[in-house]
């Protein structure tokens, strides 16, 4: 019994890139949400959580419409890059990002709120500019929030399925991720293969998670 490792690498790449980009986008968004006093904050927060609510295949369907070459997002993308957003790795990344956004933003926002203004004020009076204070004080103090965000975001992208299937089109080597591969084995009643893939994914994920959480213990908790 040989196992095709292609989907595994693809999945790891997808999850890695998705989480990296989400951290990049999610950090300022979460920061803003944690510190803003605007009235529209609840609206933005609700919007951020919305991807959770719809079934993945349904999100997949709507994203397909948005990403299609004539779609609101797909059309400019096609013009700019010459490539379609649907059925491409880029599209998959974008879809995963939309789908996993709440898992990154919510823990980060919570962590930033818990850090509060005190340490930032202290840093400012020591001459640290806003970015400096963010990187050297706020984010290390919010490290546990980052760990949670990474774990949830990464894991959710690993396990994501409906959206990826729909938007990605299951193209081997390009958009065929491991969840689809497992699904296929179950559907065709190849349970042995499915067990191997699922078991491998499980063991790998478990090991990564244990490692992350074990490291996490070393970070101080910043209680009130």
């Amino acid at each position: 019994m040989t196992v095709d490792l292609g989907p595994v690498w693809l999945t790891l790449r997808l999850a890695g890139i998705t989480v990296a980009l989400l951290l990049l986008i999610g950090t300022p968004l979460a920061w803003w949400l944690a510190h803003t006093r605007t009235r529209v904050k609840p609206l933005i927060e609700a919007l951020t959580a919305l991807p959770l609510v719809l079934p993945p295949t349904v999100i997949g369907f709507y994203l397909l419409v948005l990403f299609a070459p004539a779609g609101v997002l797909g059309e400019p993308w096609l013009r700019l890059t010459g490539q379609t957003l649907t059925f491409s790795f880029s599209g998959l990344v974008l879809a995963s990002m939309i789908y996993s956004l709440p898992f990154v933003v919510q823990p980060l926002q919570g962590a930033f709120e818990a850090v509060g203004r005190g340490p930032l004020e202290a840093a400012a009076t020591l001459g640290a500019g806003r970015l400096d204070a963010f990187f050297t004080v706020a984010s290390p103090l919010a490290l546990r929030g980052y760990v949670t965000a990474c774990v949830l975001g990464f894991a959710h992208t690993l396990g994501e399925f409906g959206v990826v299937l729909m938007v990605g089109g299951n193209i081997p080597g390009r958009t065929r991720v491991i969840s689809i591969a497992i699904y296929e084995q179950v559907e065709t009643l190849n349970y042995d293969q499915a067990h191997v893939l699922a078991g491998g994914l499980l063991v790998f994920s478990f090991a990564v998670l244990v490692l992350v959480y074990a490291l996490n213990r070393r970070f101080p908790v910043h209680a009130a």
């Binding site: 340490p119 202290a122 400012a124 009076t125 020591l126 001459g127 640290a128 806003r130």
Partner: protein, 373 residues
């Protein structure tokens, strides 16, 4: 050194602050006031940390904020802050907290050095520690060191010594006192302790319910009733400006002169002619009708009774005395004695008396280096 001019108002609903002052910043400015009077609020506003603060702040030649919309962010103000709660960074150890400040220090040839500050605050044994397990006083010492290492243009200290024991306090005070002279860093210092203030400050500013009710040279302000409201009657007294006359090395005494009269103080290392400041508490002054011989009280000054304030509800009366040889405005003394003594001695306004100042009540601690005053 430069001046700090501000015209600030802060509205917190139930509490409103309004303060408009120009402080010379020629050393140490103390801020006193009852709990909740707005001391921390004022400091936060100066540092740019109080979003609700409106108005104008100018430090030396730099406009930090004005009503028209200029508002320098806190990290560009060069104003250091030692918070009432220490606010150490929990993700760095003690050394890491200090180095954080060091790496961001304003450049300057005479910026405080790491080893120097660590030694001054006795932090060597704590350098390897995490900040989690530090005791209250330990935290505060680290916070002071950290603020110093950033080499600010102006350092705000919000009751930095409240958590320290007296011995540690006594060790730190001289160090703090010399900061302005040594590193050119003027201080604004919040404190409840009039002794600390008398010892440290050049200027005092007293807040009551968000308003500046008294301000000026320590000398002048500490004699005002507003100061008493804050410091408590027990510690009321006056500050005297004196000059060194000479030394009696055998007895570790220094002779000083106030308005032509002589006093002996525990030795201070100053050359003749050097100005010094002395605090004399009302309760340390006794009154005699003539010079008294055969007592251990060496400092007996000739004075005239200017006023007698009896406090009918208490056992005491407070006397205001003019030192002989002084002009009208000139150095006054206060004496707090029992009403019974006033009656028995038959004291009256205009009467010449001798003020007995118990020698040892001049403590080294109430001597303030005169160089900046």
């Amino acid at each position: 050194m430069s001046a700090l001019a501000f015209d600030l108002s802060v509205d917190h609903g139930a509490f409103a602050m309004r303060a408009c002052e120009t402080l010379p910043l020629a050393g140490i400015t103390a801020v006193m006031g009852a709990s909740g009077s707005g001391k921390s609020t004022l400091l936060r506003a100066l540092a740019g940390l109080e979003p609700a603060a409106r108005g104008r702040v100018q430090l030396g030649g730099t406009l930090l904020q004005d009503a028209a919309g200029v508002r320098l962010p806190p990290h560009r103000r060069g104003i250091g802050y030692v918070f009432q709660d220490a606010r150490l960074f929990a993700h760095r150890g003690v050394a890491g907290n200090l180095r954080y400040a060091l790496h961001r220090a304003r450049p300057g040839a005479d910026a405080p050095g790491f080893d120097e500050v660590v030694a001054a605050l006795d932090l060597a044994p704590l350098l390897g520690r995490r900040v989690g397990g530090l005791s209250g006083g330990e935290r505060q010492r680290v916070a002071i060191a950290r603020a110093l290492l950033a080499n600010p243009r102006l350092l705000l200290l919000d009751e930095p010594l409240a958590a320290l024991d007296l011995k540690r306090k006594a060790e730190l005070l001289p160090y703090i006192r010399h900061l302005p002279g040594r590193f050119g860093i003027p201080l604004i210092y919040v404190s409840h302790a009039v002794e600390e203030v008398a010892q440290l400050a050049d200027e005092v500013l007293i807040l009551t319910a968000g308003r500046v009710v008294a301000r000026g040279e320590v000398h002048a302000v500490l004699e005002q009733p507003q100061a008493e409201a804050v410091s408590g009657h027990f510690e009321a007294g006056v500050l005297l400006h004196a000059h060194v006359l000479g030394q009696a090395p055998d007895y570790a005494l220094t002779e000083v002169e106030v308005s032509g009269q002589r006093l002996w103080l525990p030795h201070i290392d100053d050359a003749p002619g050097a100005p010094v400041r002395l605090r004399v508490r009302a309760r340390d002054v006794a009154i005699a009708l003539q010079r008294v011989e055969g007592v251990s009280i060496r400092n007996q000054l000739q004075a005239t009774v200017l006023r007698i304030d009896a406090e009918p509800a208490s056992a005491y009366a407070e006397l205001l005395l003019a030192l002989d040889g002084a002009d009208d405005s000139g150095p006054h003394l206060r004496a707090r004695i029992t009403r019974e003594a006033v009656a028995t001695l038959g004291l009256m306004v205009g009467q010449p008396v001798w003020a007995l100042i118990k020698g040892v009540s001049f403590d080294r601690r109430v001597l303030v280096g005169g160089q900046s005053g």
